[in-house]
Amino acid sequence: MERMIIFCMLFFCSSMVLTAAPPKAMKYKQLAKTIDQLKDVVKDKDVELLHTPENPEDGCLFTAVTCFQDGILKLQPKNSQVNVTFTKTVKILRRTILPDSGEHCESSCQSYERKKPQEFLNSFSKVMQKVIN
C-alpha cells in the first residue's frame, strides 16, 4: 500500500514534466488565425499609417515581428460593436511571439515603408507564414 503511494507520486511527478509546453507550430498557427480575425475588425480609413516590414531576412525576423507588435498598438477598431473582439485579439498579439535570437538586423523598424492597416496586417500574415513554413 505504502509502496504504491510512493510509486504513484513518482509517476505523477514525471507526468507533469512530460506534459510540456505546446509545440511552437500550434502557437504560430493560432497567432496566424488571430491576425485574420483582427483584419475583420480593424479600422482602415483615416488612420495613422504604420511601418510595415516586407519580406524580412531570416536574421531580421525577430525585429520585424517586434515592429508589427508595436504597430498593432496604434490600430483602432472599426466600430464600437467589434470592440470586444478587437481588444481580445490585440491582447493575444501583444504576447511574446519569437524569442530574441540576438542576431543583428541591419534594417530597423523605422526604415520600412508606412502602409495602411490592412496591408500592414497582410504583411504580418506573410511573415507568420514564413515562420510556420
Partner: protein, 380 residues
C-alpha cells in the same frame, strides 16, 4: 484648273499619307497581339522545381529569352534551362537551388522577331503563393468497427503541416460526387453500406498557414471499397448477417468531421492546463496522506537511534566508574581480591649425569624414570 486638281490630289494625298502609319500601327498591333503571350505563369511543383511558361508552341513564333531576379537580392540572370516546343522556347525550368521563397521574384521575357525586340512586362511574384504539391499517394482504407471506414494517405510534399486536403467520393448508386475538406491525413467515413461500391479520390493544397495559394494538386489515384453488385465475382469483405442500413451517408452533417482540426487546438490547450493542475492536486493529496500516516512515514524516514543519552549516567552520576555503573555486587568485587600470601619459589636445574650404557647416541635424551629435574612446590 490644274491647281484645283493639284489641291484635290493634295487633299486626297494627305488623308492617304496619314492612313499609312495608322495601317502600319494596326498591323503592328495585330502582329504583336498574335505573337505576344498573355503573361508569364510560374508554378512550383512540390517545391522541387519551378516552370515559368509564356505560351504554347502553336501561337508563338519569336525567339524568346527569360531574365529573372529577386528583389534586393540577386543580380539579373538569364534562364539556364529553357523548355522547347516545336522549335520555340515556351518556358523556363528552375531547379531547387534557384528558388527562394518569401522574396519577391521578378521575371522579364524578351521576344525578338524579325529584328524587333518586344518586351513582355515583368511580373512581381511571391513564390510561396505558387506552390503546387504533388497528389497524395498510398491511399488505404481500413475497416473500423461498426460500419465505419477510415481512409488514410501520405503526401510526397515534405511539410505535412502546410497541407489541407479534399476527399471526393461517390458510391455506384450516387449521381454526383461528395466533397469533404480534411485538415489532417485521415478521413473517417461514418456509415458505409456494404451493398454499394465506393470510389475515393484525394487532392492537396498548401493551407493558409504557409501560403496564400489556390493551386490544388492533381487528383490522386482512386481507391475502391465495397462490392460491385453487377459483377458478383469481385472479392470484397462481406460481414455475415449484416442488416441492411438505409443510405445515411449523404445526410450526415458535416460538422462531425469538418471542425475536428479546429477543435484539436482548443482540446490541446485544455490538456496543457487541466492535466498539470490535476496532477498537482493529486500530488498534494498523496503528500498529505503520507505525512498523516505515521506508519508509512517511519518506513521512508526511519528513526536513527542516538545512543548519546544512554551514557549520561556513566559520566555524570558515577564519574566514569564503569564497575559502579554496571552494577557489579560488592561481594563479587571483594572475592576477586586475594586474602592469602605466597612466598616466592625458586626453581633451578640440576646438572646432567650420563648413564653407563652408551647405546643412546649423545644428544638424544633417553627415557628416564628419575629425571635429573627436580622441582618442588609448597602447597597452600
Amino acid at each position: 484648273m490644274q491647281g484645283g486638281l493639284h489641291t484635290k490630289h493634295r487633299t486626297m494625298a494627305v488623308p492617304g499619307a496619314s492612313l499609312v502609319p495608322i495601317l502600319l500601327l494596326g498591323l503592328g498591333i495585330r502582329l504583336a497581339a498574335a505573337h505576344s503571350p498573355a503573361g508569364v505563369e510560374c508554378i512550383l511543383f512540390n517545391e522541387e522545381y519551378m516552370t515559368c511558361t509564356w505560351g504554347s508552341g502553336q501561337t508563338l513564333t519569336a525567339n524568346y529569352s527569360l531574365y529573372y531576379w529577386y528583389e534586393n537580392r540577386s543580380p539579373v540572370a538569364e534562364c539556364k534551362q529553357y523548355l522547347w516546343e516545336r522549335g520555340v522556347r515556351t518556358g523556363c525550368r528552375f531547379e531547387q537551388s534557384e528558388i527562394i521563397q518569401f522574396q519577391p521574384f521578378h521575371v522579364r521575357v524578351n521576344a525578338s522577331q524579325d529584328g524587333r525586340i518586344l518586351e513582355i512586362p515583368s511580373n512581381r511574384m511571391e513564390l510561396q503563393n505558387l506552390v503546387k504539391p504533388e497528389a497524395p499517394v498510398n491511399l488505404t482504407i481500413r475497416n473500423m468497427s461498426s460500419n465505419q471506414l477510415q481512409l488514410t494517405w501520405s503526401s510526397p510534399y515534405p511539410k505535412a503541416h502546410c497541407l489541407e486536403h479534399v476527399v471526393k467520393y461517390k458510391s455506384n448508386k450516387d449521381t454526383s460526387w461528395m466533397k469533404q475538406e480534411v485538415k489532417g491525413d485521415i478521413f473517417s467515413f461514418p456509415s458505409v453500406d456494404y451493398e454499394k461500391f465506393y470510389t475515393f479520390y484525394v487532392r492537396s493544397k498548401i493551407n493558409n498557414y504557409c501560403g496564400s495559394t489556390q493551386l490544388w494538386s492533381e487528383w490522386s489515384v482512386p481507391v475502391f471499397w465495397g462490392s460491385n453488385t453487377t459483377s458478383k465475382g469481385r472479392s470484397s469483405p462481406e460481414p455475415p448477417g449484416s442488416p441492411r442500413h438505409p443510405h445515411t451517408v449523404l445526410t450526415v452533417s458535416p460538422w462531425l468531421f469538418a471542425g475536428m482540426a479546429e477543435e484539436q487546438l482548443q482540446w490541446f490547450w485544455i490538456h496543457t492546463v487541466l492535466i498539470p493542475i490535476a496532477s498537482c492536486l493529486l500530488l498534494l493529496v498523496l503528500v498529505v496522506l503520507l505525512v498523516r500516516m505515521e506508519r508509512v512515514w517511519v518506513i521512508i524516514m526511519p528513526r536513527i537511534p542516538n545512543p548519546n543519552k544512554n551514557f549520561d549516567d556513566l559520566f555524570i552520576t558515577h564519574n566514569g566508574d564503569f564497575q559502579e555503573w554496571v552494577g557489579v555486587p560488592k561481594d563479587v568485587v571483594e572475592s576477586f581480591k586475594p586474602n592469602y600470601s605466597e612466598s616466592i619459589c625458586h626453581v633451578s636445574e640440576l646438572p646432567y649425569e650420563p648413564l653407563q650404557d652408551s647405546i643412546h647416541p649423545p644428544g638424544v635424551p633417553g627415557p628416564q624414570e628419575h629425571g635429573p629435574y627436580k622441582n618442588s612446590y609448597v602447597g597452600a
